[in-house]
């Protein structure tokens, strides 16, 4: 990827993260009865964006350590190892996801699943194994 492209992409990603962080901060603010200053939201957004670099590097290494090229949920669990509460929460989410996937598989045991939706996915090759996932 050219440097210019990467810079532009980084800008867009930053903006998207900033927007989501803004929404989340608003919710937390309403909950706690105070407001977040614009600088605080920007700082949290920037921190999140940078933190993603650590997350991505760790996930890639965890997958590599497991002799895989695809990051799976186990790698994410490993990412959450530092805090017990977080690990419990993530493990719970993983179990929920696994059981809902199993349910969906049972529902449509017809062999039409694989590669069906690939055509309308005009973006970069993002998600593999995405055929089990409901798109919201």
């Amino acid at each position: 990827m050219a440097d210019g492209d990467r810079a532009a992409l980084s800008q867009r990603l930053r903006a998207a993260v900033h927007y989501t962080v803004g929404c989340l901060c608003q919710e937390v603010g309403e909950d706690k009865g105070l407001e977040f200053s614009k600088q605080t939201i920007a700082a949290i957004a920037e921190t999140t964006f940078r933190q993603c670099e650590n997350f991505a590097a760790d996930l890639a290494l965890f997958a590599k350590h497991g002799k895989r090229t695809t990051v799976n949920t186990d790698d994410v669990k490993l990412l959450a190892r530092r805090s017990k509460a977080l690990l419990n929460f993530i493990t719970e989410k993983c179990n929920e996801l696994a059981s809902s996937n199993a349910e969906q598989k049972e529902k449509r045991a017809v062999p039409t699943g694989k590669g069906k939706k690939k055509s309308d996915r005009h973006l970069e090759p993002m998600v593999t194994e995405s055929e089990d996932v409901a798109i919201d």
């Binding site: 989340l24 991505a56 990051v71």
Partner: protein, 80 residues
């Protein structure tokens, strides 16, 4: 989180963020991992916001300012 909040990171954004930072082009992310990562990022942001809010209310401030966030940042980064 437990109270079913609306805002969250879109899967598309999360996977683009990860692919943006992957050094090795061969690395991929499974769909399930993206969903869980989106939860993880959401917790990170909510945790940051909630800790900042608590710091602000400890200091009797009405708005959560940058210095409140700066005070909670080191511990936040140690927890993630």
């Amino acid at each position: 989180m437990e109270r079913g909040e609306g805002a969250k990171f879109k899967k598309e954004l999360v996977s683009k963020l990860l692919y943006f930072y992957f050094k090795d082009q061969k690395t991929k992310v499974s769909g399930d991992a993206v969903i869980i990562m989106s939860e993880m990022l959401k917790i990170f942001v909510i945790e940051a916001a909630a800790r900042t809010a608590r710091q602000a209310s400890n200091e009797d401030a009405r708005t959560a300012d940058l210095d409140h966030f700066e005070k909670v940042l080191p511990q936040l980064l140690l927890d993630f």
